[in-house]
Symmetry: C2
Subunit: 337 residues, 2 copies
DNA sequence: AGGACCAATGTAACCGGTTACATTCGCCGT
DNA sequence: ACGGCGAATGTAACCGGTTACATTGGTCCT
């Protein structure tokens, strides 16, 4: 077990003061070249590494940001984290992960962050609907906060137009002649709020109604945003006396579940059932799912860029809306009834 | 911008010493109940939160572990991180993410960790083949290291028997009468080493040879462990004069790419082409891919448990091997030639 | 020769906690 | 009445860096 070698060890070994060591090793000016060289040699020989906590305690800069996501196991989130991580690392920032996997943890996010607030430069919230008054204490402590997805009062938000995306997906199905269109997604409580699922559902409903198609509440199901949830819901839908001819899933995971249910039930896609997803999950292309593409990597990059700019004292003044795109593949076709 | 409230502020406000505040707030004994109550009230009123860096600087415990993965965007890795994160959070540990997305970063992993070594309790390496002499300095500094996947000398390893898994997958195809069996995976340099892809490839080769089927090197392709790579390789394979009747992909992503290539090329699965994957990716069931199931969550949990035990002074004495399982679904069928 | 100036370096305070050790004080036994 | 004891609390050193300010010593100018 190697004993700790501190800056004082290096100083005494090199025959200089700790201040000189600190300056020499960080490349600050006003250190004689010969001295610097000697200090560096000693530091290398002793395998000295500065203690990051001590450094952070004495400086204002922390070089750490928190990334908070609801889940990390889902494609969408892990890819956002990937792109954030890449930029963060390149800029010399560490990232600290917070997974708010249930509602409770989502509520308590601020409590988690608060202790770190003084020592973390910023937080990127991904799909986390937090109250403005929850974020306020963070902002007041000088933290930079960026949101991907939900609009949070007073926080720069990176988003796509989920409402229009859902509308376009639905109208694509309507344009193919479908009218019995199911939707997979649904808020647990049945209510529509400003969260992403809520906004997408509203787009779905408005598209139907403005095309003169009443919303059949029995076709609006909760697919839990998972493959299994989409599967279960679709199995149930297909077993009903008058099954839908199309399904709009609010995520590609649920669309894949629907696809699986159709295959196992002997229902042909797209002849008997059209499926549209949302996200353009990497597996969507392999399966051939028609979907709304989100620029996932770009969302993360933009958020991190906004963060870096803010940390450099050039905070963004407004939100950024990136473009979505309908990708027409093989799970959608003309209505067949 | 809220000014920092420190333990001294609380102390003077409550009319006690900093030591008493420290003890009171941490629930240590020998603090009078009345005093404790008063201190807590003052702390709450001032919204005092202890600075984690200062705390860590003065104590030995860090409550932080590093999780290092090659990629975070892939299902396998993000799920491992998920299960590690859950246990870590429950045990009061923070996790710090390191993404070694290219070989250079993999080599430099130790350089990244070293500065943190004093202040991090441990590291979980996921699929990171590092030299024993790279890990040695970490161990010497008292860090706990656990490896998921590759065996690292002197480090507790959690693994599945990748060799036998690959053999079983291959033999499943052979049992169905296939003999022109392609493999997707392949090491970049063409060499087989002790990494996971290398071990799986060896299982594939041995299965063929021990069943009297010579390995056709033209059927061993590099699919880059991605959907796109599996797609490209399969498109190419199917275009050859004597295409394979089966494909064993070393990951489900590549299997999905093969599936897509078959569908787009009008090649029926499994009638014309059987596909076996590896991992049991969440999308494998939706597509219906026959695959070797890895207990992903269990791998992460076991690793974190080993870590926690080691941190509690009860290090594991040996490695742990978890079971894999062949899941027979709809992408495999009898050879048709 | 003597003073001005500046580069190089050292000293010590500070960041905000924890904790070993010292101190105070009320209560007990004899 | 007094020494002993232990609970409650205070004092100050310490963790390992950074940095404001002081000090040193050499070069250059008049």
């Amino acid at each position: 077990m190697i004993e700790n070698v501190t800056i004082r060890d290096v100083a005494s070994e090199a025959g200089v003061s700790v201040a000189t060591v600190s300056r020499a090793l960080r490349g600050l000016p006003s250190v004689a070249p010969a001295t610097r060289e000697r200090v560096e040699a000693v530091a290398a020989r002793l395998a000295y590494v500065p203690d990051p906590y001590a450094r952070r305690l004495s400086t204002a800069k922390n070089h750490t940001i928190i990334v908070a996501v609801p889940y990390i196991g889902q494609w969408y989130y892990s890819n956002i984290v990937t792109s954030i991580e890449a930029l963060a690392t390149a800029a010399g920032y560490d990232i600290r992960l917070y997974v708010a996997s249930d509602d409770l943890q989502r509520k308590h996010f601020v409590e988690y962050v608060l202790p770190h607030a003084k020592r973390v430069d910023g937080a990127v919230l991904v799909d986390l609907s937090v109250d403005p008054d929850q974020v306020a204490p963070l902002l007041m402590r000088g933290m930079n906060v960026i949101s991907i997805g939900p609009n949070v009062e007073g926080v720069v938000t990176i988003e796509i137009d989920n409402y229009s995306g859902a509308r376009e997906a639905t109208e694509h199905l309507i344009g193919l002649g479908h009218s019995r269109i199911a939707m997979l997604g649904g808020m647990p409580g049945g209510r529509i709020d400003m969260s992403i699922p809520g906004v997408r559902e509203q787009g779905f409903r408005d598209a139907l109604e403005q095309n003169g198609i009443p919303v059949d509440e029995d076709l609006v199901r909760n697919g839990n945003f998972s493959i299994a949830g989409g599967y279960d819901a679709t199995v149930d839908l297909l077993a009903s006396p008058l099954p839908p001819t199309a399904v709009f899933a609010l995520s590609d995971e649920m669309a894949a579940g629907a696809f699986q249910a159709a295959r196992e039930g002997g229902v042909r896609v797209p002849e008997d059932l059209s499926i549209v997803g949302f996200d353009d999950h990497e597996f969507a292309e392999a399966i051939g799912i028609t979907t709304i593409r989100q620029p996932v990597a770009a969302l993360g990059e933009a958020a991190m860029q906004a963060m870096l700019d803010a940390l450099d004292g050039r905070p963004w003044t407004g939100n950024l809306e990136l473009d979505y795109e309908l990708i027409d593949r093989f799970t959608t076709g003309p209505a067949n009834t």
